[in-house]
């Protein structure tokens, strides 16, 4: 099956229900992160909105301990600590959110790589399939 380049045009997506807190999988089906928040186009506060202007779009899927932390305890995470996955990587929104790239190429999975390179990969047998 040839993977779709992006989700089916015309489809409606309720972001809270269908994107937030969903598992993100890379093109090989490997888990990357869970969607901790979603970044949309900034909406200016306190000004009259133009009804004919382009509506906001989803720009990035966000993850990371700061983003999740504010979901749990309130507040607003500093933007420097948003780990972003560009929406253009998204190919499908189903029971999981699927991407057209691999986990290793995304910033969002740096902790996985760190633990792999510094700890787990160094223990004998860590890089071989179980037998």
């Amino acid at each position: 099956m040839i993977p779709r380049p992006h989700p089916e045009p015309g489809r409606l997506v309720d972001a809270e229900f269908q994107v937030l807190d969903r598992q993100v999988l890379d093109r090989n089906g490997e888990p990357v992160v869970t969607v901790d928040d979603v970044e949309i186009t900034d909406i200016p506060r306190g000004v009259e909105l133009d009804p004919d202007a382009d509506a906001p779009v989803i720009e990035n899927l966000l993850s990371g301990s700061a983003v999740l932390g504010t979901r749990l305890f309130g507040g607003r995470p500093p933007e420097s600590r948003w780990q972003r996955i560009r929406w253009s990587h998204v190919t499908e929104i189903g029971t999981a959110v699927e991407l057209n790239t691999t986990a290793d190429r995304l910033d969002a999975s740096w902790t996985e790589r760190w633990v792999r390179n510094h700890l787990i990969g160094r223990i004998p047998g860590g890089r071989h399939a179980p037998d």
Partner: protein, 408 residues
Amino acid sequence: MKRLFAVALGILTAIGGFVDIGDLVTNAVVGSRFGLGLAWVTVLGVVGICLYANMSGRVAAVSGRATFEIIRERLGARAGMANLAASFLINLMTMTAEIGGVALVFQLVTGIDPLLWVPLAAFGVWIVVWRAKFSALENATGLLGLSLIVFAVAVFLLQPDWGHLGMQLIPRIPESESGSTYWYYAIALFGAAMTPYEVFFFSSGGIEEGWTVKDLGQTRANVLVGFPLGGILSIAIAACATLVLLPQAIDVTSLSQVVLPVVQAGGTIAFGFVVVGIAAATFGAALETTLSSGYTLAQYFGWSWGKFRRPARAARFHLIMLIGLVIAVLVLLTGVDPIAVTEFSVVFSAIALPLTYIPILIVANDRQYMGRHVNGKLVNALGLVFLVVIVAASVAAIPLMIITGAGQ
């Protein structure tokens, strides 16, 4: 043999729920104090866990999503975290108890101080989690755990007055016990039967085995063989205690008293079986809870997980399990009674049980996940009844624990 291996996941899952070290002792305590007057709770628990484990397995097979992924997805970050914290603590406490339990079994055989066995037992668990194939670990522990059937055999060897034993099955509170201790143990048995790590392990195990829609029959077979078997073992242990320990008013405080009726019935051979069975069951339960701690955390945060991947491709998953095992060893080395550790898991189950089973029930009805494999009317009706029972038991658990001093 091949057929038996096909249901190994169900058997191992059930062993962790019904006859892990805490339950072995609880079942014997119950038998020695209440006779078979609480056997109905185990039967109820078997029905409940069959229902929900099958749902979780079906969701995993059809949608590819394991149970903690759907908990996070459906309940959101906060309620999901509340469940994660409670479930993780239950896992950790049970893991600690099981590793202590393996050490106790070795003590039973060798007479050497269990503290010396603790690091060895933990290392054994780790090496299996690190290197063994999932199918190998479930087949070995599941099959060896079946030696616990010796408890059922012992019931026959003890040549009981069947009519008298049958009469005991009628639920009643013995004169020597209070209503609150009776209900405390009822909830403890029900909670053990439905302990949440069973569905975490079962659904994740289904994905480890690569289940798809084609394997729904196998999912059902695993459930219908594994959990009733766990229930039978659980009742057999209580029955043994009823026949031997209850008349002599022996208080069950340790593993040797659990084993006593079997030895009395079948001598050395039976002792051999029971030791192998308990060792395999506690070791199996240790594996189940260790893996569950990795599964739940990885699935909540969306990390890569699974034994079907090389450890380096599921690095954080393996790191969590390693840390969990180190904590378990450190706790045990303080000299705490491993079996007492599990008593407090009742408290956390009160939070984890409803927050685990509600999302399973909902997603098992969601056609976006399940297509035409959604729950039937009867399953939904039963599922709701059990949800009410689960919530009632959860609410009652903590006050009863305080009133009875944990069943004293």
